[in-house]
């Protein structure tokens, strides 16, 4: 706004200066036409050759409102335009006059120049001319209007742009805040539910009349729920602790084969409980990646646990580990219940359970895959899933391969 004001003032001043300059030039041209001589002992002034005042009017570029010639004694000699005072009463130089004109709707502003004219260093008279300032005022009015409209518009545009850009910048922050809120809401619910179960069972067990057998049952339930709650808390803490990128000094060269082998040995025992068939396809040679071995173990274990849980008795689970030129890939494929297409995009979300009822019974909290994904991504890898309902699911972890242990 200040800029606009300064701009306006400078423009006004420039225009006025130009105007005055033009007026002055005009006056000098006119003054040049004045002839002053001595005739019969008297000073005589001939204005015939003066533009406007004389009869030979030369065209002038400016429109003068009036022109007046005063003698050296300030007496009026000749004029064009409205009737002026008989005596010159204004000082030399520029002045602004406001004249009321009957035909104009508003008072007209005139710029008046009173020029003392010298011939050979002797004052011969005064030339007074005036021109209407409308030629200056109109453009200035337009400029004023332009600025009056333009400045708020510009300010508005800037504000709007700022607001939009600010909103865009806030987007990721708002997003992650919303995610955090959702996570704490879910975690709160998941923690309160088992706690409520424990408290209710304990208090009702103590209510009169006391039945030892009933108390026995309630205590068993309490201990089961407490254990499952402890498992949940471990998972939550894990998620909370391993949020950011892994520090480089936490990574080391790890042979994936050495991680997977012992896990499969344990797993073989587990799957036997449901008479599931396990097929393992692991290379004999080493497969190196930059990793934190404990975390990788956790991620792989989660996939194995899911396959075991969601595949029925006598089902088949296949494990494969292989390498392309860029990636080390670990795959778990089962022929279990599979995942619906509508659940597939959200299957890695925290607390997401495809089937609420069944997962709760089997002790699932919906965090296993979320943890696996967090681990894999923090290693710079990818985790993907393909699945058809009732046909099974295939989960794949890809990690950047290391060509040589480094």
């Amino acid at each position: 706004m200040i800029f606009a004001g300064v701009l306006y003032l400078r423009e006004a001043r420039d225009r006025l200066q130009t105007f005055d300059q033009t007026l002055y030039n005009t006056s000098r041209i006119m003054a040049a036409g004045v002839e002053n001589y001595v005739y019969e002992g008297q000073q005589r002034t001939d204005l015939e050759n003066v533009p406007v005042l004389g009869s030979d009017t030369l065209p002038l570029s400016t429109d003068l409102t009036f022109a007046r010639w005063y003698m050296a004694d300030k007496q009026l000699l000749q004029f064009v335009g409205e009737i002026p005072p008989a005596q010159l009463d204004t000082p030399s130089g520029f002045q602004t006059q406001v004249i009321d004109q009957p035909q104009a709707s508003a008072p007209v502003r005139l710029r008046q120049l009173t020029l003392p004219v010298y011939q050979r260093d002797r004052l011969i008279g005064y030339l007074q001319i005036a021109a209407s300032l409308t030629s200056v005022e109109v453009p200035l009015q337009q400029l004023r209007l332009f600025l009056a409209v333009g400045t708020p518009l510009a300010l508005g545009a800037i504000a709007l742009t700022g607001w939009v850009l600010g909103g865009k910048a806030m987007q990721p922050i708002r997003q992650s805040y919303k995610q955090l809120q959702q996570f704490t809401a879910d975690a709160s619910h998941e923690l309160r539910a088992p706690l409520a179960g424990i408290l209710s069972h304990a208090q009702v067990g103590l209510m009169q009349p006391v039945d030892p057998q009933e108390q026995q049952q309630r205590l068993t339930i309490i201990s089961q729920v407490a254990e499952s709650m402890s498992f949940l808390i471990s998972q939550l803490l894990f998620l909370a602790r391993h949020q950011g990128k892994l520090l480089p000094d936490m990574l080391k060269s790890v042979d994936l084969v050495q991680i997977v082998q012992p896990l499969t040995a344990e797993y073989t025992l587990q799957v036997a409980q449901k008479q599931q068939t396990l097929r393992i396809n692991i290379p004999q040679t080493s497969l190196y990646v930059q990793a934190e071995p404990e975390l990788l173990r956790q991620a792989i274990a989660n996939l194995l646990s899911n396959a075991h849980r969601y595949t029925s008795n006598h089902g088949t689970i296949e494990l494969r580990l292989w390498q392309t030129h860029r990636w080390a890939i670990f795959q778990v494929k089962d022929n279990g219940v599979g995942i619906d297409a509508k659940d597939l995009p959200r299957i890695f979300d925290r607390f997401y359970r495809a089937d609420q009822v069944r997962s709760r019974q089997t002790g699932g909290f919906g965090l296993g895959l979320a943890i696996a994904r967090q681990i894999v991504e923090v290693h710079g890898g990818e985790i993907t899933v393909q699945s058809s309902p009732n046909q099974g699911s295939t989960f794949e972890i890809k990690l950047p391969a290391q060509s040589m242990p480094g």
Partner: protein, 232 residues
């Protein structure tokens, strides 16, 4: 009171149901939102206790539906959703109380009693009909200085009749009020219960207060009441 308890976690549902039953209430315990929706439309309850996070239909939707049906029994939310916003939403949608899990069972029972005092008029922890008193906390009947202890079902029957005193209640209504929604009592169960309650009322000299209205049902009213002349 007849209570509908909606909670999808069986580990939490069972002890609460047991606690409420031990206090003399008839409890329909339901894990599924859809089933709950049906029950609140078809049956009468003196109190609803709702969890919020349910599969299919949420507790909030159940409460809204209940109020839209024009029913005015109190509703209590029992939920893990604990923010101020949740509490405000729950109460604004028509609930009378909002408790956050885990809840102390004694506190829950006290609040249930408190809500029971208000339906439909303030009644206190004791229901009265003329000089017959039914004490809700001790499950006893008292009249003219005599006091008798009632068993669970007997108490529920007396409570039901005293909350709807001087009204004729049909066999169906009595079954719905006293037995769980998915249980079918034997055909003579109500008759036998009425008979037993009349025997208990003998001890306080009020056995003919519980009258049979042939073809319609039963009615509890005191002898001084004008309608008694119509029935014998």
């Amino acid at each position: 009171m007849k209570i509908l308890l909606v909670e999808d976690d069986p580990i939490q549902l069972e002890p609460l149901k047991t606690a409420l039953s031990k206090s003399g209430h008839g409890v329909d315990g339901v894990q599924d939102g859809d089933v709950a929706q049906r029950l609140i439309s078809e049956r009468h309850y003196d109190l609803l206790i709702l969890d919020w996070m349910l599969p299919n239909v949420s507790g909030v939707q159940l409460c809204q539906h209940y109020r839209q049906l024009g029913k005015c029994s109190p509703v209590l939310f029992l939920t893990a959703k604990d923010t101020i916003y949740d509490k405000v939403t729950g109460l604004d949608v028509g609930a009378d109380d909002y408790l956050i899990k885990p809840v102390n069972v004694m506190e829950l029972l006290a609040r249930v009693r408190a809500l029971g005092r208000r339906s439909p008029l303030w009644q206190g922890d004791m229901l009265t009909l003329s000089d017959l008193e039914l004490h809700l906390t001790t499950l006893t009947v008292k009249r003219q200085g005599q006091e008798i202890q009632l068993s669970g079902r007997e108490f529920q029957l007396m409570e039901y009749f005293m909350r709807h005193s001087r009204q004729v209640l049909s066999r169906d209504q009595i079954e719905q009020a006293l037995w769980e929604w998915d249980m079918e009592p034997e055909s003579k169960a109500v008759t036998i219960l009425i008979h037993r309650v009349r025997q208990r009322l003998q001890a306080v000299g009020a056995e003919d207060w519980l009258q049979t209205v042939y073809g319609m049902g039963y009615c509890l009213s005191s002898p001084g009441h004008p309608t008694e002349a119509a029935f014998v």
